[in-house]
Point group: C2
Chain length 239, copies 2
């Protein structure tokens, strides 16, 4: 059973609240992701783990021809359909593990903060490869491997130092995020990069986004990203 914490009532309420306030996604991760898309005009985009669909509507506004947003969570897709529908967008409730059921080919596969929930990373990348046109782009973000290594680690009280362990022990991690028992999968940096290459992609850019000065003014604690990054972003092209 793939992880679908987002349909838990309590989790969903807390998550919606998080995303309504100033948050790391809007201040750090999404701008970094969007900065890596060369030219979106006329493109067909598949968004894996699309959530509320906010970025999918942005894609259409920036000139994408067609966007397909998929998410395992019914609640997310419901909210996406209610709030971020536009001509050219199609939303479906579907886990990443069922990518092979999607028809058609895409120019861009985009995925924001979803891959650390996926157990079989190699299969995921191969499935994505089969859904991309030749030369197509895979752009994804995930929790940074230093973060996924050890959710029991964390910042010192003054936010100046970060402590962790178990970086080389890949596999399941269970943590508490709004609710107990959120399951993610830790993979090292080397596994992530090497799997992408082995499954038929050419690495273009790796980015560990840093907060801007204005982001720090708006949300001062985001400055601790300078000590330890929260996100890893990889841009690659299908060979």
């Amino acid at each position: 059973m793939p992880m679908n914490i987002y349909d838990n009532e309590e989790f969903f309420r807390s998550y919606v609240k998080l995303r309504e306030g100033l948050n790391y996604n809007d201040l750090l991760e999404t701008p970094a992701m969007l900065s890596l898309i060369d030219d979106i005009r006329g493109k067909e985009i598949l968004d894996i783990g699309c959530g509320f669909g906010k970025t999918d509507r942005t894609f259409i506004e920036l000139g994408a021809r067609r966007v397909r947003g998929m998410d395992i969570s019914e609640k997310m897709i419901e909210k996406a359909k209610a709030e971020n529908m536009a001509e050219g967008i199609e939303y479906s409730v579907m886990p990443a593990g069922r990518l092979q059921d999607i028809d058609g080919l895409y120019d861009i596969v985009y995925s924001s903060l979803c891959f650390h929930y996926i157990e079989d990373f190699g299969k995921l990348i191969s499935d994505i490869h089969s859904k991309l046109r030749p030369g197509g782009m895979l752009l994804f973000s995930q929790e940074h491997p230093i973060t996924t290594a050890d959710y029991e680690g964390g910042f010192s009280e003054d936010s100046r130092r970060y402590t962790f362990s178990s970086y080389q022990r890949e596999g399941t991690r269970v943590s508490e995020w709004f609710v107990d028992g959120v399951v993610t999968y830790h993979r090292t940096f080397s596994t992530i990069i090497t799997e992408i290459v082995r499954r038929g992609f050419r690495i273009d850019t790796v980015l560990e986004p840093k907060p801007s000065e204005s982001a720090i003014r708006m949300l001062p604690r985001i400055e601790r990203e300078y000590e330890k990054p929260s996100f890893l972003i990889v841009k690659s092209y299908k060979n």
Copy 2:
């Protein structure tokens, strides 16, 4: 003035002693590096920061046609010439910054634990690119970015957890390693990988080597590599 701590008398004595005993290089880094060389027979190899030249002699024994070892340290090259000379090997005292003075082209550029001493990483990679034949391989190891981020960090007393900071602050680090004032340069994963791509290479493999069971039996404290890796290895090919 490029870093050349290895010609400091006290440092050199301590370093020789370290390398004579059981050490991370012989148990972890060198085997991992050698495992990534596809076929060495008939190849011409340039070794940047060759040190004692032990690996260069191994290259010749494994069938390399020609090996050029360069190192900034006179003491290292003296020891290499005395202990690891073989037909087909040439050793020179030369800093990595003077790569453009080397004539000829190579099939493989190899560099073990040297690049974290180099200030201008982009120039280094471009210089290497110009010394490789088309399709040639660049294989290097360096101190892991989590390590170079913060030499004031370190393991907890029980070696179970690792604390660091300043990952996103790239630049000079001054540490104590046998002697005071060893200067290295911290770069993030993303800078390392993205620069290699930008300078004309295709990333093939990224490896953060893990100690084998036999290595742990021989040197029990190397087990803490499971919490936090010491080395980053990158294999890439010239486009």
